[in-house]
């Protein structure tokens, strides 16, 4: 399948779900989709188009929390990033674990660093932050402030 075919296929198949389509460069395509459709779209990309799941990355912009799911089509050297924008009031999205195991850790990470709830994730335990990190504080949020009064932030010399 060539590059154009993949893009055309995706555009037609998910006409309803795609909000925005940005063809950045020959190797990069950004597709914004509705959050509800993430399972459907990634399932198709992973299973039918047999792309490899690269990673997901979360970004806290002022208005939304975005999650980008990066998929790579290695045979045609194309990287498709699925973008979903989540409302700050309702930070919830379906977990991708039913489709591939690879999403397990990254969802745990995004859960603790950005505070997004992944529906259907089997265990959303801590991954990176320490045991004494307080609940409800997410370091990658825009509004993150130092909470630990004991922390020393100078050279101490």
């Amino acid at each position: 399948m060539r590059r154009e075919e993949v893009i055309k296929d995706l555009r037609e198949r998910f006409k309803e779900e795609i909000i925005d389509f940005f063809d950045k460069s020959p190797k990069r395509v950004y597709i914004e989709i509705k959050p509800e459709a993430i399972l459907k779209v990634s399932d198709y990309i992973f299973k039918s188009l047999s792309a490899r799941f690269n990673i997901a990355s979360g970004v806290d912009t002022r208005y939304h929390v975005e999650i980008l799911y990066h998929f790579i089509f290695e045979d045609i050297n194309l990287l498709i990033s699925l973008r979903v924008k989540l409302d700050k009031k309702k930070l919830e999205i379906d977990s991708l674990i039913p489709i591939f195991e690879a999403a397990n850790w990254i969802e745990r990470e995004i859960h603790e660093l950005l505070g997004i709830n992944f529906k259907g994730h089997p265990d959303l335990r801590r991954l990176l932050l320490s045991d004494d990190w307080p609940e409800g504080i997410h370091p990658l949020r825009c509004d993150y402030k130092e909470w630990d009064e004991k922390a020393i932030r100078d050279r101490g010399v």
Partner: protein
């Protein structure tokens, strides 16, 4: 100087603790064991258990998860036990001073005897640092006798 202390200086077994480092210092410590540097010449060995350790080589920027364990581990080490901070991170947290996960520098957690700067310090520097440590202990002993 007593026999035992002399012996301690001639056979310091080191235990290596990484508290959130980039791995470079740790690898340079391992490098010290290898043919080119061979710290076994000085009787140094890399101990597996902290209960066998005489010198703690601490690398890394002391992140939150490690700090709790570090304190406990220091308790578990048999005294006299010397602490060497290796690399910029463990000296002052270096680049990571403002990281949300690295709240305090190492010497605010446990007493540190010798600092070895560098990012990463070369194996030669690590060996030299440990030699300095030995000198320091000797000097302290002499002074305390006076």
């Amino acid at each position: 100087m007593s026999m035992k202390l002399k012996a301690l200086l001639k056979s310091p077994w080191v235990f290596h603790l990484s508290t959130g480092s980039c791995n470079n210092c740790d690898i340079e410590i391992l490098d010290c064991l290898t043919p080119r540097f061979d710290i076994e010449r000085f009787g140094m060995l890399l101990a597996g258990s902290i209960k066998h350790a005489d010198v703690l080589l601490i690398t890394g920027s002391c992140n939150r998860q490690s700090v709790i364990r570090l304190k406990r581990l220091y308790e578990q080490a048999p005294k006299p036990c010397l602490v060497v901070a290796i690399g910029e991170c463990s000296l002052s947290r270096g680049l990571f001073m403002h990281s949300y996960n690295c709240p305090v520098p190492l010497d605010k957690i446990i007493p540190v005897d010798v600092y070895i700067p560098g990012c990463p310090p070369k194996p030669e520097a690590i060996i030299a640092g440990v030699v300095k440590l030995i000198e320091k202990v000797k000097k302290e002993k002499v002074e305390s006798k006076k």
